[in-house]
Amino acid sequence: MTELSKSGAAVGEPTSTSPAPTSFLEVRDLKVHFPTDDGLVKSVDGLSFTLEKGKTLGIVGESGSGKSVTSLGIMGLHTAGQYGKRKARISGEIWLDGTELLSADPDEVRKLRGREMSMIFQDPLSALHPYYTIGQQIVEAYRIHHDVDKKTAKKRAVEMLDRVGIPQPDKRVDNYPHEFSGGMRQRAMIAMSLVNNPELLIADEPTTALDVTVQAQILDLIRDLQKEFGSAVIIITHDLGVVAELADDILVMYGGRCVERGPADKVFYEPRHPYTWGLLGSMPRLDREQQERLIPVKGSPPSLINIPSGCAFNPRCPYADVPKDNVTRTVRPELAEVGSRHWAACHMTQEQRERIWTEEIAPKL
């Protein structure tokens, strides 16, 4: 219970008895709830996953599915500096390299931020301070965690800018963010987040605000740097194309919960959840014959205040009417193993889903 008392009111089951993790990053039953005037917004409602060093996890889902809330939760940014706002209620466990972050002292978590775990944000223009040079911002990030003088830190900043492919880094280091192009800004942002060699890098929609031609360069850069530094990477996106390039594992989120999780090729080639089918069907593909049209997922995401009882995807599911045996509709489907290291949460039986996928969905993609 100790972690609950520090992170606001308790939500869900006490988790003090669970054993220490074996993975580098292990998230257990993470819940992030925001009290509002309209009710409790359950942005993340029981999310669990693991991630090893050197591996990449792609978290996929539409807007409001809880992707970014999850990443900010890992970074501890829901509790830092929320002046006068109602406190987010966070429960569960986040183990990073043997340390449980939610029960840890906030100042200890602050020291981990930027050094052990760091983050790249969606819009590099608004995420960089407009009044400080790129160099000043990287130097600052380095000197928080390293006791060096400014000159040494600046050398390090130039080195990092060079590493992320910024030409003339010794000159560009004195430029302001508004003097950089969008792609260059994101490179600088990456340089800043990697300046302390973090073990965990969270990239929250790193390419969404960028030009398509630049997107691939940034993704390549992230992949190369990961190989070089051997860090664990979480890449958050609504674009399946992005994770197809990078991710070892994929976690599909819907309504604040995980609906399917597994190795990337499994999720792409043998998906076992109707929502994943929908995402695949709505993704433009260049490597196939021209399709007639993209198939959107009908309807809109559920309100996170009144999540439907039972399966949250049920109102939008094209297979909601498929007869299901021994299933109470108001019960929420739990993640069940559908293959090796592959889980999905659906009321349909494995056989039903396998049949629908091979006969109805796959041929159309």
Binding site: L77, G81, Y83, S126, H129, Y131, A141, Q168, H178
Partner: protein, 350 residues
């Protein structure tokens, strides 16, 4: 870092050179503005009354002037000359001085000639320079007070939004904005000067006695600062709340910065910009004469001078104060513009 202003290389607005270039552009703009201001003031005092059919000469002489002196003043001011000649003399007077002559009656007005009071028979400029330090001291002293207390209260309110402190501070700020100077000023005089007898309340020039000057200025400062601190607290609070929601503040936290640094460095720097803008305008306007404050506390400043001049219809004094006020606003804005460029690198390009 000034060596990087070569073409072809990455464009930079980082170095002192860019700030210098910006400063030169601003100075040039200010010089143009100065000429425009002088022209406009001339129009207000000489052209508009002429169009309206008012006898300018008699209003320059003052109340109950005899026809002979009005005629003399008309000739001295050259009011029957063509407009361009009049403008030229007006300009020349400000920069090199001018001589008013009517027959054998010659009056010399040394540069900078801001006019000659035919009523008191003296140059306007010394009157202004006598009174200017009083007003400047009042404005600057009050500005220091309101900046320190207003900004501090605003930041604290933002960080404790919705708390008892926040609500209390904002109620006080609202009363500060709403209560007029002649109420708070008289109240403070009644309590601290007449009631408790702590403060003498008489103005003593700084050159005579420092402690006497402080004693005379403290109530006017506090009264004036109360009004402005209230406005600055509200602006600071609103700006700080907006800045705290910015992405780059989240980035600062994601780097692992201590919260004190996130607020004190990253958020404060951005909050400064609108505060500086306000400060430039407010200081400029105040230097032109805090009429209410100076009258309430009997401070012999520009505001009091202009009020007396209006009562006695001493037009040259009014003209001089108008000119010097415009000049003060111009200089205050110039200083703010430069500070702006120091704070916000994006400004240096414009």
């Amino acid at each position: 870092m000034g060596h990087r202003k070569t073409s072809g290389g990455p464009r930079s607005c980082g170095g002192p050179l860019a700030v210098l270039a910006y400063l030169i552009r601003r100075l040039f703009a200010a010089a143009v503005m100065l000429v425009v201001i002088i022209l406009v003031v001339f129009c207000i005092f000489f052209l508009v009354p002429k169009w309206a059919g008012v006898d300018i000469a008699s209003s320059f002489v003052g109340k109950q002037a005899d026809p002979a002196s009005v005629a003399a003043v008309r000739e001295k001011l050259g009011l029957s000359d063509p407009i361009f000649v009049q403008v030229w003399h007006f300009f020349k007077g400000i920069f090199v001085g001018r001589t008013y002559a009517a027959g054998g009656d010659v009056t010399h007005c040394a540069a900078p000639c801001f006019g000659y009071s035919f009523r008191t028979e003296q140059d306007v400029w010394p009157v202004l320079t006598d009174r200017f330090p009083v007003t400047l001291g009042l404005a600057l002293g009050a500005a220091v007070l309101w900046l320190v207390f207003g900004v501090a209260a605003g930041v604290l309110s933002a960080l404790k939004r919705g708390s008892l402190w926040d609500r209390g501070a904002m109620v006080i700020a609202l009363s500060g904005v709403s209560l007029p100077i002649y109420f708070t000023g008289l109240l403070s005089l009644a309590i601290f000067s007449y009631g408790l007898g702590w403060i003498d309340g008489k103005y003593v020039p700084l050159t005579d006695s420092f402690s006497g000057w402080l004693g005379g200025m403290i109530l006017p400062w506090v009264t004036l600062a109360f009004l402005y601190a209230a406005m600055y607290a509200r602006i600071t609070r609103a700006t700080m709340l907006e800045i705290l929601g910015e992405d780059y503040i989240r980035t600062a936290r994601a780097k692992g910065l201590k919260e004190q640094v996130v607020i004190g460095k990253h958020a404060m720097r951005s909050t400064m910009t609108p505060i500086l803008t306000m400060l430039g305008m407010d200081l400029g306007a105040l230097i032109g004469g805090a009429i209410l404050t100076e009258t309430t506390f009997s401070l012999p400043g520009l505001g009091q001078a202009v009020l007396n001049a209006i009562k006695t219809q001493d037009l040259p004094i009014i003209l001089g104060v108008t000119l010097i006020t415009s000049l003060a606003v111009l200089i205050a804005n110039l200083v703010v513009d430069v500070l702006y460029a120091v704070i916000d690198p994006r400004v240096r390009l414009t």
